[in-house]
C-alpha cells in the first residue's frame, strides 16, 4: 500500500525484465510490460466488470477452490488495484465473439481491448533481486497421494480454507465433500433436463413415465418412439441416485475435525530437496493454532522430525500450540492411504513407543517446501551471477546481501528460504547496500 502511494517508487506490475546492460551506477534495464487490456491509471478497482463478466473460471488465488472471472484481480488488496483481462479465456479474445460486456459496464472507461505490450527502458544505479520462491509440487511425493486423494491438501490451500475471505469463509471441510457440493448444481441441472424430457413424453402419450415403463418392460409397447422414452427413463435412474447421494452428503457435511500436518514435504529429502525450507514448521504451527481457534473440538496432529521454531517468540508459540491441544508427533510419515469414506490414513512409526501405527483423519495438510523461483535461473544467465547448488542466488557470509556482481543485491526467499521478518529486514538491508553502491560508484567516478 505504501509502495503504491510513494512518490518516488514507480511500480511496473505485470512486467518482466528482458535485458540488463551496463554496470553499477549505470544499469539500463529493458522491461516488457504485458497488456492487461485495462488502463491502470483509469481503473479504480471497483469490480463492476468482474461482476458482469459472463466467463467463469477457477480462481488461481483460491487454488481452484473458488470461482473467478475472465477479468480479474489476483486478490482483493493487490497493488496496483487494477483489474486484468485473462486473454486466454476472455470471449472477446478467444471465441472471436463480440462480448465487450466489461467495456460497457466500466464507468471509468478503463477497458482497452487493443492495449499492446510495451517495452520500457529504465535507468538504474543498482538492482535488487527479490524474485522469491515457488512452492514444491506436492504431487511429486508419490506416497502422500496429493492429487489422487482429495482430502490431502497443501498448506497454502489450507490457508485459504482458514481465511474468512476464502472460498469456505474460514470453515474447514473435507475437500471431497466440497467437490461434491460444487458438483451439485451441475447434477441438478442435468436431472432437470431429463425430467423435462420425460414430461414431454408423458404429455405426448398421456401416461406417466412409471405406467409407461411397466408396460414397456412387459413388452406391451414397442416402437422407436417408445425406445427413446425408455432410454431416457433408464438414464435418469443413476442420475437420480447420484443426485440423492450428493444431496445427502452435502446435507450431513461436517467440518473436518481431525487434521494431520505432515512436515518436510519435498524438503530434507534426498529424492527432492536436501535442504530445510525454514518457514514450513512455523506455518503449520500457525495453521494448527488457527484451526483450533475455529473449532475447539478439532483434533490436530503435527508430524515432523524436528520442529524448527527458531525465530523470535517461535518456541513460545509452538509451546502454546501444545498447550492448546495440538499433538506433536516426532515421525516422518511413511505413507497416506484412503479408506472408503474418503478419509486419509497415515502410516508412520511412533518413535516414542517404537511401533508402526496408523491414524485415520479427515484432512491431511502437506507442509510443502520452498523452491527457488524460475526467475533465479533466468537472471543468473542474464546477469552472469552464480546460484547455489540449490538454485538460489549465491551470497557470502559477509557481505551478506551482495551477489557476485557489483551493484546487484538480493533479499528474501530469492536468496534462500526465510520467513517474513527476515525477508523484510533483508529488504531494508538491500536498500542500504544499493545506496552504498551508488556512493561507491560515485566516488570511483570522481577518482577516475
Amino acid at each position: 500500500m505504501d509502495v503504491g502511494r510513494h512518490p518516488r517508487i514507480r511500480l511496473l506490475a505485470y512486467s518482466e525484465v528482458e535485458k540488463v546492460e551496463g554496470e553499477v551506477g549505470n544499469f539500463r534495464v529493458t522491461v516488457r510490460k504485458k497488456p492487461r487490456y485495462v488502463n491502470e491509471s483509469k481503473c479504480t478497482g471497483c469490480g463492476s466488470c468482474a461482476e458482469k463478466c459472463p466467463t467463469v473460471t477457477s480462481d488461481a488465488y483460491n487454488l481452484g477452490l473458488g470461482k473467478s472471472k475472465a477479468i480479474f484481480k489476483y486478490f482483493a488488496q493487490g497493488i496496483p488495484s487494477s483489474y486484468t483481462i485473462d486473454a486466454s479465456v476472455c470471449r472477446n479474445f478467444q471465441q472471436g465473439k463480440k462480448c465487450g460486456v466489461c467495456a460497457k459496464v466500466c464507468q471509468a472507461g478503463a477497458i482497452d481491448y487493443k492495449q499492446e505490450e510495451q517495452i520500457l527502458e529504465v535507468d538504474a544505479g543498482a538492482i535488487i533481486l527479490a524474485t522469491g520462491y515457488e512452492l514444491f509440487d506436492a504431487g511429486r511425493v508419490p506416497e502422500y497421494g496429493y492429487g489422487r486423494i482429495p482430502n490431502v491438501v497443501t498448506a497454502l490451500e489450507f490457508e485459504r480454507f482458514l481465511s474468512a475471505s476464502g472460498p469456505t469463509h474460514g470453515h474447514v471441510y473435507r475437500r471431497s465433500d466440497l467437490q461434491v457440493e460444487a458438483k451439485l448444481p451441475e447434477l441438478e441441472k442435468a436431472s432437470q433436463k431429463v425430467l423435462r424430457e420425460l414430461e414431454k413424453f408423458e404429455k405426448t402419450f398421456s401416461m406417466t413415465s412409471d405406467e409407461f415403463f411397466e408396460k414397456f418392460e412387459a413388452g406391451e409397447l414397442t416402437g422407436a418412439q417408445y425406445d427413446e422414452w425408455a432410454k431416457a427413463i433408464k438414464g435418469y435412474a443413476p442420475l437420480k441416485q447420484q443426485l440423492e447421494n450428493a444431496r445427502k452428503q452435502v446435507d450431513c457435511m461436517e467440518s473436518a475435525h481431525r487434521i494431520a500436518f505432515i512436515q518436510c514435504v519435498g524438503s530434507r529429502d534426498k529424492r527432492f530437496n536436501e535442504y530445510c525450507s525454514g518457514f514450513c514448521c512455523m506455518h503449520s504451527v500457525k495453521e494448527a493454532i488457527i484451526a483450533r481457534e475455529h473449532d475447539r473440538e478439532a483434533e490436530i496432529y503435527i508430524f515432523g522430525m524436528d520442529i524448527r521454531a527458531v525465530g523470535k517468540g517461535f518456541e513460545e508459540y509452538r509451546n502454546r500450540a501444545g498447550e492448546a491441544g495440538v499433538t506433536f508427533v516426532r515421525s516422518r510419515v511413511a505413507e497416506v492411504t484412503e479408506n472408503a469414506a474418503h478419509n486419509p490414513i497415515l502410516w508412520f512409526e511412533d518413535t516414542k513407543n517404537r511401533i508402526v501405527r496408523s491414524l485415520e483423519v479427515d484432512l491431511v495438510v502437506l507442509a510443502t517446501g520452498c523452491e527457488p523461483s524460475p526467475a533465479a535461473h533466468k537472471f543468473s544467465a542474464m546477469l552472469g551471477i552464480p546460484l547455489t547448488d540449490f538454485g538460489f542466488y549465491k551470497t557470502k557470509t559477509v557481505p551478506a546481501l551482495d551477489t557476485s556482481r557489483p551493484g546487484i543485491f538480493t533479499c528474501g526467499c530469492a536468496q534462500g528460504p526465510m520467513d517474513i521478518p527476515e525477508s523484510v529486514a533483508q529488504a531494508s538491508g538491500c536498500a542500504a547496500r544499493a545506496a552504498q553502491a551508488l556512493s561507491e560508484s560515485e566516488s570511483m567516478r570522481l577518482v577516475s
Partner: protein, 570 residues
C-alpha cells in the same frame, strides 16, 4: 500544498459533504443518492454531492471547485478508510486554500457497506449516522498548523559488533555523520571469540578485520571506544546523547537517529550440567580453544539447549545448533578418529546451507542422539548418561570433553539502555520491535532502530542484513530536510492540577510533570511534548478534569459526535 488557508475566514461552518460510491464497493450496497440528499438536510451543510470515485482526479477537482464556488469552510468526505485516503483529501483541501485540519471523514465503506452487505436497510441507516456524526464534529473543527522540527543529520550506532559495524558503514556512505559507540577497547563483538563462521567457514578474524577496516577508513565515522551510554534526552531528529568514557569523561552529542546494536552474550554455564570450565565447557569456550589451536580431545559430547527452551528461558537461541554442528565438523577434520556425539532435542539447521552442513557432519561420522527434555542427559565422572527415547535404553557415553551449548542472552544492562531511550524489552530482555512481522527493525518510538542479536539471536549474515536494514530505516528520517508532525496532539489545559495520573499511562512517554511557582508555592503541572505525542488519546481519557486534551478529539467534538449518534435513537 499551496497554502494552509491562513487568510480564509473559517469561523462560520459552511460544510460540503461528498458521498463516494467507490464504484460498487459502497453504491453496490448503499443508496448513495439518498445519502447525499440526506447530508444536504443536515445543519451547516451548504453543499452535498455524490461521486463515483471521490479520490479520482475528477472527484478531487469537484471538491476543490466546491470550496471556491460555495465558499466551503469544512469538507466532509464519506467514503473509505482515513488510513489510506485521508492524506490525499487533506492535501486537496490545502491546495484549494482550505486549512487541511478542517477536513473530516466518515468511513462508510470499511465500517459499513463491506461489513453489512447482508443487511442493507440497517447499513443505510448506519451510513446516515456516520455522516451525521462527521458533520457534527466538522462544525467544531479549528484550523491547525503542522508541527515542524529541524533535525540533525547525525546518527549514533550503539555497539560495534557485526550489526553495528554494518550499520555505521552504510550510514556513513549515505552521507551521515556517525558516532560508533563501543564499550570494549576493540570492535567486532562476539565474533572476536569465534573461530570460523559457519556454515561457510571463513575465519571470523578475517571478517572482523575487513569490517573494521571499512569503518576506520570512513572519515565521517567517529569511533568512540571504551565508551558507554549514560543517558538519552530529546526527540527524533534531535536526540541528546550523553556518553561516558572509561576515564569518566562525559561526551554530549545531538543526533537525529539512533541504532541499537548492543548484541547478546552466551549464558554463563556455572552450575549447569557439571560445568567446570575444564572438562565441561561451553560452546563459546570451545570456539576459543579452536581459534587458539588449543583444542585437544578425543571423545567429545555436546549437549544442546543447556539453559534454553526451559521453564526459565523459554526461547530457542537459533544459533547454537549451528555452532555445534559446525564445530563437530572441525573436530572431525582435525582428527577423523575423534568421536563426536551431539545430544539434542530438535536440531535447528534451518535453511539450505545449514541443513547441508548437517548432512555433511553425518557423513563425517558425527553421531546425533535425541534426548527428551523430561529426561535430560546427566554428566557423570567420565561419561554422560543418556536415556535414548528411540531405543528405550539408557546408555553411557564416555568423554574427555563435554561441550554445553548455552543460549545467547540479553546483556545485563539492557533494561538500563531501554530506560534511557524509553524503548521496550520483551520477557527475555531482548529489545522489542514495533511489529514482529512487518517492522522488525523499528521501535514504536520514531528515529530509534534495532539490529542484530540485541533483537534476538541471529547468525553473522543475519546480523549484518539487519544492521544494513537499520541504517536504511534510520536514513528515512535523516534524509529529510525537516520533520513534519501532525498537529493533532495532546495539549495541557488550565485545569491540569499536576496530579500526574496520565503521565505514566502515556505509551510514548510524551508527558512529564514540571514544577512552577505560584503565590510563593511550588506547584506541579503536566507538560506534553508535541513531537513524542502520537495523539492516541490515553491521557485525555484518563484525566478526570479535562486537564489534558487531544486536538481534533476534544471533549466538545467527541460530545457532538456522540449526541449526533444518539439522535437516531430518539
Amino acid at each position: 500544498m499551496s497554502g494552509n488557508g491562513e487568510d480564509m475566514d473559517v469561523t462560520e461552518a459552511r460544510i460540503g459533504v461528498f458521498v463516494c460510491h467507490c464504484g460498487t464497493n459502497i453504491a453496490g450496497y448503499l443508496d448513495c443518492e439518498a445519502l447525499m440528499e440526506y447530508a444536504a438536510t443536515l445543519p451547516n451543510v451548504v453543499y452535498a454531492k455524490n461521486n463515483l470515485y471521490t479520490c479520482s482526479e475528477s472527484g478531487i477537482g469537484e471538491i476543490q471547485k466546491a470550496i471556491s464556488d460555495h465558499r466551503l469552510t469544512r469538507v466532509v468526505v464519506s467514503s473509505c478508510s482515513p488510513r489510506t485516503h485521508m492524506p490525499l483529501f487533506k492535501s486537496a483541501c490545502a491546495e484549494a486554500g482550505l486549512n487541511p485540519y478542517l477536513f473530516e471523514m466518515a468511513n462508510i465503506r470499511d465500517q459499513c457497506s463491506w461489513v453489512h452487505m447482508q443487511e442493507r436497510d440497517a447499513a443505510q441507516a448506519k451510513a446516515k449516522d456516520l455522516i451525521r456524526m462527521a458533520v457534527a464534529k466538522a462544525v467544531l473543527l479549528t484550523p491547525q498548523k503542522d508541527i515542524e522540527a529541524s533535525l540533525v543529520k547525525k546518527a549514533m550506532v550503539l555497539g560495534g559488533g557485526m550489526a553495528g559495524l554494518s550499520s555505521a558503514s552504510a550510514l556513513a556512505d549515505m552521507g551521515v555523520e556517525v558516532f560508533l559507540v563501543e564499550r570494549e577497547a576493540e570492535l567486532g563483538g562476539l565474533l572476536r571469540r569465534i573461530n570460523r563462521v559457519g556454515p561457510s567457514g571463513e575465519k571470523a578474524s578475517d571478517i572482523v578485520a575487513d569490517m573494521v577496516r571499512q569503518v576506520r577508513d570512513k572519515p565521517n565515522i567517529k569511533l568512540l571506544l571504551e565508551t558507554e551510554l549514560a543517558g538519552v534526552g530529546g526527540v527524533v531528529g534531535n536526540y541528546e546523547v550523553v556518553l561516558k568514557t572509561k576515564s569518566g569523561e562525559e561526551i554530549k552529542q545531538t543526533v537525529g537517529s539512533i541504532v541499537v546494536a548492543t548484541g547478546a552474550v552466551p549464558l554463563n554455564a556455572e552450575g549447569l550440567c557439571g560445568y567446570d570450565g575444564k572438562r565441561v565447557i561451553t560452546q563459546i569456550e570451545l570456539e576459543e580453544q579452536l581459534r587458539d589451536r588449543k583444542f585437544e580431545a578425543k571423545n567429545v559430547v555436546m549437549i544442546q539447549c543447556v539453559g534454553a527452551r526451559s521453564a526459565e528461558r523459554k526461547y530457542c537461541s537459533r544459533i547454537c545448533c549451528l555452532s555445534a554442528v559446525k564445530n563437530s565438523i572441525y573436530i572431525k577434520e582435525l582428527d577423523p578418529s575423534a568421536h563426536v556425539h551431539v545430544l539434542y532435542r530438535d536440531i535447528q539447521m534451518y535453511g539450505t546451507e545449514n541443513e547441508k552442513l548437517l548432512w555433511d557432519s553425518r557423513g563425517k561420522g558425527v553421531r546425533y542422539d535425541i534426548y527428551d527434555a523430561s529426561r535430560p542427559p546427566v554428566v557423570k565422572d567420565g561419561a554422560v548418561e543418556l536415556y535414548q527415547p528411540l531405543t528405550g535404553m539408557t546408555v553411557e557415553i564416555p568423554f574427555d570433553l563435554v561441550v554445553l551449548s548455552t543460549p545467547l542472552v540479553a546483556p545485563a544492562d539492557s533494561q538500563t539502555i531501554a530506560n534511557y531511550m524509553r524503548i521496550p524489552v520483551d520477557g527475555n530482555n531482548f529489545f522489542l520491535e514495533a511489529h514482529a512481522k512487518l517492522r522488525p527493525l523499528d521501535f514504536a518510538t520514531d528515529g530509534i532502530y534495532l539490529a542484530g542479536t540485541a533483537r534476538y539471536p541471529a547468525t553473522v549474515p543475519e546480523a549484518q542484513a539487519q544492521g544494513l536494514g537499520a541504517a536504511s530505516r534510520a536514513n528515512t528520517i535523516l534524509s529529510k530536510d525537516k520533520l513534519t508532525f501532525s498537529a493533532l496532539v495532546s495539549q495541557v489545559t488550565d485545569r491540569c492540577d499536576g496530579c500526574g495520573f496520565c503521565v505514566d499511562l502515556c505509551p510514548y512517554k510524551a508527558l512529564s510533570l514540571v514544577e512552577y511557582e505560584k503565590d510563593g508555592q511550588i506547584r506541579k503541572k503536566n507538560r506534553s511534548d508535541s513531537i513524542l505525542c502520537k495523539g492516541c488519546g490515553v491521557c485525555a481519557a484518563t484525566c478526570p478534569k479535562g486537564g489534558v486534551v487531544v486536538l481534533g478529539f476534544t471533549r466538545k467534538q467527541l460530545e457532538a459526535q456522540v449526541d449526533a449518534a444518539l439522535e437516531s435513537l430518539q
